[in-house]
Amino acid sequence: MTLAQIFFLLVALVMLFSALKVVTVRNLIHAALWLVVTLFGVAVLFAMLDAGFLAVVQVMVYIGAIAILFIFAVMLTRRDASEQGAPLNPNWPVSALIALVTFGGLAWLLRAWQGLPESAAALPAGVDALRALGEALVSPQAFALPFEVASVLLVAALVGAVYVAYGRK
């Protein structure tokens, strides 16, 4: 087992542990902070996959914006300081079963799937992946239209969010 593999397993363990914490802890602020740990793990994985830009954007968007948004929302929607009642609804064993079946099915599929590469393909030499990504995002032959649609979606969502959450006086 190489150093990289041990590191990957450590990161994966931390991520799974914190993900389980996200879905089980009673206090929602803690859940949001555990989510931050998981998402940071995702950023580490991106960095390991040579997607530096995505890793940095992951930290910026998820930790800098989305996690903060969650914390604000939790603070705005609770009756008192400590979360009351059970964190899980009564039929959570069924949910656990469904989740296990989902994982089992996916794992079975992955086991059955032959020809998954053991090691990554070599990165093309002399090509700046960041430049390639930028060009792919704005070139009309590639992804300019989906990219613009995504930005329109974002604007629409933000306007909608402001409209829905705006307290009328």
């Binding site: 994966a12 996200v22 879905v23 469904i98 590469p117």
Partner: protein, 102 residues
């Protein structure tokens, strides 16, 4: 070198945890948190496939970025809805929002 299947297994596990969270949590904000887990699991898959199978084409990274944008939009709208509902019904617990069940 790390086999691709490790990333896929991790992503599957993360996705399943997210599924559990969406189904089992009572609080609407917590459900949104679990949805974030699922979206991130998908992103790991996309980037891992990009790196291992087609590092010359940027499709995987581009899709990951679009998923990121969609996640941001979803969080903004979702949390706005939760706050709006909370303002009217004084609760953010999904089970108690049962007006349509009457």
């Amino acid at each position: 070198m790390i086999p691709l299947s490790w990333y896929l297994f991790l992503s599957a596990a993360l996705f399943s945890v997210g599924v559990f969270g969406v189904l089992a949590r009572r609080n609407a904000v917590a459900i949104l948190l679990a949805i974030e887990l699922m979206l991130n699991a998908v992103n790991i898959n996309l980037v891992a496939f990009w790196r291992y199978l087609t590092p010359t084409q940027m499709s995987g990274q581009v899709f990951a970025i679009i998923v990121l944008a969609v996640a941001a939009a979803e969080v903004a709208v979702g949390l706005a809805l939760v706050i709006s509902v909370y303002r009217r019904r004084q609760t953010a617990v999904a089970d108690e929002l049962d007006l349509l069940k009457w």
